[in-house]
Symmetry: C2
């Protein structure tokens, strides 16, 4: 990077390069949408040259390329390292064109060379079976952002620049996207950005006026309101509007240079100054760019205005194969870019276009940050033994399991000051992860006050009351090669479920591209779970995200339900070391009984599932009468308690207890790589003995996971059946029919042998449940002392 801010004033001599590059990008965009042949228009355009089906989005594309062309100019003058995020990702052909013009596309995809043959392939492959998608996609070099599901361009941009002081993320926000909640909620990234150790995001709010068929709010607001809005978010607003050329080149170049100067000035001040200079949140620049939708495209078609209206959103000339006048319009449109100046005899970009490029190592399409696996350094992970609980005998120690993880995270923060962050909606302490605050503060760039605790402009624990921000920041952070964890209330993980799904899709596709290096996984810790949301109630009780993650491809999706602290540690070391996965880890934060020492926990987690001999009564046999299985902490407690009751009351019944940590181990290996082999599955669950399965989530999840396993209908699943309230933990398991008493009754109803005394025990269980019900009523009347507020004491044997 140059020292000075150093963008010289706009010089008309530069126009040739910038404008030619832009025309070339626009030309190639139109060609990708329309042409199957004759991509250089070396012969008159015929209907036969046009694709059989026209797919793609023209409207936003010229604006995306305009910004790209000018960013290139900025990079040429400053040597700045930038990545480009196209919020309106449906402008895919614009970004593909940019990458091709920069030569990087052909480096990655040699078939699509920088010549006429390559150009023909570039066109044919676009939005075509066997080719590439119409959106900016995983296949697009330089991208960490698809922009299919709108709303996340700024969260990805901010995530990319945290702990990346030398990087600027240029983020184009479309005015359609700007209407979404997640996008509106993400302008506030500047309230969490530190100019000293973070890079900068330069948002370009691109107002082109229309969505698919209606106007956009921001484009139709008075400009002073748009300015007011962004100033309210804390930005220093620069505006560039119009469609006049070369005027727009000049004005945007000036605006961009000005924005860059301001960014550099903020960074210089922060990085050179003393601590006091960090106290006030900088006013980071943002650009509002107003250009017509479909700029440079057909003004009018069939007597109706197209450019500047919603009609240019997708394919503005739909009838080119059937209607000669449309075909003529298309040819005139394409020739208006003067392709003969842009491509040489071989079809390669001419020198005037090349002049619009940047040095190879600074090409945005080749940015290593956008292929973050290239930059990934392993996390320096301490030995988790240092954080393990001593568990000499199962069920004798109680602890808040996530507190152990918090201590591990504290050490990870210490060892990895530049490549690990925790993201959490204001619940780090509540989730018992507060140990991190012993070594790192919350990031907060707004005013702090004396009563704040662990809040600092330069903090690196990311707390914002927005699952969308947390999730999206972590995505941007990991896609650019760093590591992290998103910890959130289980129920509210549904808020960002679509992001989880979309990120999984990204990783699924990335795994099929050899050139995309694996990136650190997206680790999601769900805590404050359904079963223990005692004081919040029904709205906070929902294990829904499991339902969505289990449908993603086996190459990516992982769901872990560690039953205790040491299993959580064992799972954590796995997921923090893993690459390109979506790891869901579910465990509650409340004090709970501990079962395994670390060594056993590691072995158990490595196996994914196993028999807990110490909990069952089938020690001397391979032939249990019934299997009590469980996955999830609270239901594990109930299962162990049920087994204890059975052991005491009906000692001759052979009960096996099995615990599942890695939920995907239940799946057939052909459906998921973690699926237990058939042999192993039989070892745990037998061939045909009935299994009473207590599950943390909705029972149907287990039903679908064991489908295809031997006699799957012997699995009788108890789980969360959408019953809840602000109530005691024990009442929660009773309401959902997953208490120890329910499990005992299920076990007796499904065991192969029904020993004498079974009927009495069923009666006893029924009586226990009735007594609980009485207690609830009585409690409301008389508020006696606590009797069953927690589950923790309930591994009783009577």
């Amino acid at each position: 990077m140059t020292d000075g801010d150093g963008v010289p004033p706009w010089d008309d001599d530069e126009l040739a390069g910038v404008d030619a590059w832009w025309r070339a990008a626009n030309y190639l965009t139109v060609a990708q949408i329309y042409l199957a042949a004759n991509p250089l228009l070396r012969e008159p355009l015929l209907a036969g040259h046009v694709k059989p089906r026209l797919l793609g989005h023209w409207g936003t594309s010229p604006g995306l390329s305009f910004v790209y062309a000018h960013a290139n100019r900025l990079i040429r003058h400053t040597g700045q390292r930038m990545i480009y995020l196209a919020g309106p990702g449906h402008g895919g052909p614009a970004l593909v064109a940019a990458s091709w013009l920069e030569g990087h596309y052909s480096e990655i995809y040699p078939r699509v060379g920088r010549d006429a043959t390559g150009l023909a392939r570039l066109c044919r492959q676009f939005s075509t079976p066997g080719g590439i998608p119409s959106h900016v996609s995983v296949t697009t070099p330089g991208s960490i952002h698809e922009g299919g599901e709108l709303g996340y361009v700024l969260v990805h941009a901010f995530g990319a620049v945290f702990d990346a002081p030398d990087l600027i993320a240029l983020a184009v926000v479309g005015d359609g996207e700007a209407e979404t909640g997640p996008l509106e909620g993400s302008w506030k990234g500047v309230s969490f950005l530190d100019p000293r150790h973070d890079g900068a995001v330069l948002p370009v709010l691109h107002l082109n006026g229309a969505k698919i068929s209606g106007p956009t709010v921001l484009a139709r607001k008075p400009p002073e309101e748009v300015r007011s809005l962004l100033e309210g978010h804390g930005y220093d607003v620069l505006e560039v509007s119009g469609d006049d050329l070369p005027g727009m080149h000049q004005r945007f170049a000036t605006g961009l240079a000005e924005a860059y100067d301001r960014i550099r000035a903020i960074q210089r001040r922060a990085r050179e100054g003393g601590p006091q200079d960090r106290r006030e949140r900088p006013r980071w620049p943002a650009i509002v760019l107003r250009t017509p939708k479909g700029w440079t495209g057909p003004e009018e078609v069939d007597g109706v205005r197209v450019a500047g209206t919603f009609r240019s959103h997708q394919v503005p000339l739909a009838g080119v194969r059937e209607r000669p006048e449309h075909l003529a319009l298309l040819e005139r449109w394409m020739r208006s870019y003067r392709p003969e100046e842009l491509f040489d005899a071989e079809g390669a970009p001419t020198p005037v276009v090349e002049a619009g490029n940047v040095p190879a190592e600074l090409r945005m399409s080749a940015s290593p940050q956008a292929n973050g696996g290239l930059l990934t350094r392993d996390l320096d992970l301490p030995d988790v033994r240092g954080y393990a609980l001593d568990v000499l005998r199962p069920g004798t120690v109680r602890a808040e399991s996530t507190r152990q993880l918090g201590e591990l995270l504290r050490e990870i923060y210490t060892r990895n000051p530049d490549r690990f962050r925790l993201f959490c909606p204001d619940e780090t302490t509540s989730n018992r992860l507060g140990a991190v605050f012993e070594v790192e503060n919350r990031a907060f760039a707004e005013r702090t006050e004396p009563d704040d605790v662990a809040v600092e402009h330069g903090g690196r624990v990311m707390e914002v009351l927005s699952e969308h921000n947390c999730h999206g920041w972590l995505e941007g952070y990991t896609l650019t090669g760093r590591h992290g964890l998103f910890a959130t209330y289980e129920a509210f993980a549904m808020v960002s479920a679509s992001q989880t799904v979309q990120h999984a899709k990204w990783l699924e596709e990335a795994g099929e591209l050899a050139w995309r290096a694996p990136v650190p996984s997206l680790n999601v810790l769900l805590t404050s779970t359904a079963w223990r949301n005692d004081h919040n109630g029904f709205s906070h009780q929902g294990p829904g995200l499991i339902q969505n993650v289990l449908t993603q491809r086996g190459t990516v999706s992982r769901i872990y339900l560690p039953p205790d602290a040491n299993c959580l540690l064992a799972v954590s070391e796995r997921v923090l070391r893993s690459r390109s996965r979506v790891n869901l880890v579910v465990i509650d934060k409340q004090s709970q009984l501990q079962w395994l020492d670390l060594e056993s926990a590691r072995a158990h987690c490595a196996a994914g599932a196993g028999v807990w001999d110490w909990a069952g009564t089938d020690h001397d046999t391979d032939d249990p009468d019934v299997v009590l299985a469980c996955a999830g902490d609270v239901v594990t407690m109930e299962t162990v308690a049920a087994a204890a009751i059975l052991a005491e009351r009906l000692p001759r019944l052979r009960v096996r207890v099995a615990n599942v940590v890695d939920l995907m181990s239940l799946v057939r290996p052909r459906d998921h790589p973690h699926g237990m082999s058939e042999r192993r599955f039989r070892e745990v669950f037998t061939d045909d003995v009935d299994v009473v399965f207590a599950f943390h989530g909705f029972p149907g999840a287990v039903h679908q996971l064991v489908h295809g396993r031997p006699r799957a209908d012997r699995f009788h699943v108890r789980g969360f059946v959408e019953q809840g309230s602000t109530t005691t933990p024990f009442d929660m398991v009773v309401r959902n029919g997953a208490s120890r008493y329910h499990l005992v009754v299920d076990a007796l109803n499904n065991a192969r042998r029904t020993p004498r005394g079974a009927g009495d025990l069923v009666d006893w269980c029924t009586a226990q449940l009735a007594r609980h019900q009485e207690y609830v009523v009585e409690h409301l009347e008389d508020m006696p002392e606590v009797r069953d507020w927690t589950l923790g004491d309930w591994a009783h044997r009577s």
Copy 2:
């Protein structure tokens, strides 16, 4: 409502009533959180009077009650009909206290009377097993908003006032909630509000500075930035700050009266003026209220500041049962409200408190809008026969099914100008529902332009590029008794999945309260589905929402997969007439083959699932060799095509074809009220014949739904297995292994008899799939004419 705006200037004589009411509400809030006995402090407070477990949120509560007390004053002076939405719904005890003070709580729950016994019960029940949740919940009279999952208070408020010109929704936005994406994206409701036929939303942005353990962005921003932000959204900002009393009473009363005057002025201008007065978006007032968190609570505990900090978020004095000094602090705190002035000898509110109430018919806790079922009038639904397609023979007509629904919706708009709206993220036309624009325009209060189509300030079709807004507006609209439909791209329904889940929870709970009248259902139409997102690709391909809706309670959740237009109409008339359901309806918008005439469609949809005799070859027998089942339009086409191939190639194989419209009919009746009886299930799927099931969504959904049915493992499900791209529809079914050829092979592999020729047919299918693969490659090279761009022509027999 009074004619004049008519709030007289603040008069110190009014102080007594407003302040006493507020003190009473605060007192009752603290009492609910802490006390199990001695609720009136008629005797000195002892540890034994304190609840065994302290749960609840104090911090936000005094602010909520302050706003409520002043809203009451406004209502007393103006007769205005208002509803109150508490964004920080965790301030539940404040709203319960308000309702009790208004007397409505005791009307609904006579057990909790307005006397000492009732007060004791009021306290005991709070956040207690068998009692009421700690959040504003379904049990709270006057509420349509729980505020558990944060972000939706403004969308609910706007939804409530659409087509309710006489209503003002007072919406308190907490500064924690204000950080969420959905909330930030919902200020823009004013850009869609019409002062003529809609009511008004009065947002009170309540900045109290802290969340659970950290500061909030808006509270710590310079006040001018907050003002700038809201002005940018289009509001006219009034600010009230402080903690001084009675100064705050006076200033807030003045601010509220001023806001009310401005609302009424806007409405008068719009309602009395000519059309030109409607052109400019009004600047609706919004109030920024700054008070300390935990205002009036303990200033300092154990030497640490509490009021005004995050420490007052929940229970500011945690050790009252153990530590006498905490107990003394609590008693001092409670007595600071002077309960002896507030409650009479019986425990009822004293006249000075009653003076703070409003006339019974205007009580916000008794607002009929907040129990919208009371106001619900049936939708005037035309006979759907007028919109049916003529289908003389199955598979002979092609049509865009949703277009028929669009025509039905047009007529519904015409007949129900005050009680039906369509909500859609800018995709009404794209989703083939554009017929509505023949009779109604898009609502849009910002500047319109000549090229806009069907855009008008007073329009009532709600298009905003925000699933959160669409979903939340519809929730608010239906909870206040009106009808609607949210139509969206299937994949992006995940964006608002958490809203779907939370609304289902609301309806589940409401169904258990006799006093809550059933409300119109939340109808969600998922179109532009995974299988036919040809031009958008993988990010747009995801049937995930089904996974979440199928886990909700059977009292509420419904999932319909109509295979064609007439089934869609038959389903639509059911869901539009239904009450208190979440109805998911999934069908694509592209041209597709039509199967059933309306009469058959109605019978089929009423049954939920049935055998399609005309498609199978088991006519003369109850004993098919294999069942081909399907649910969903595209896979139904593939299934019929597979059956046709089998009929031609292996006419002696007895193939039954069954179609499922109502997905929940698959479930055992004990698990869902729509579940088919065992007898009926056997009639459709036989006892034990293998079923090859082609499913629209993820296969696991069917696996879990048929769990417990006879020999459930005979169901072999093909569905969406997370494979996709921008490609042809036929390629989509091939990639996901759900094409007709896959189904034929599955059928042959699982049929009870394998007739001669089966091997040849398997080979032929394999060859067809290979040929398809070649075609994809060939296509990329040569771009031949369209061969298989659509599925529509593929019910072939060769």
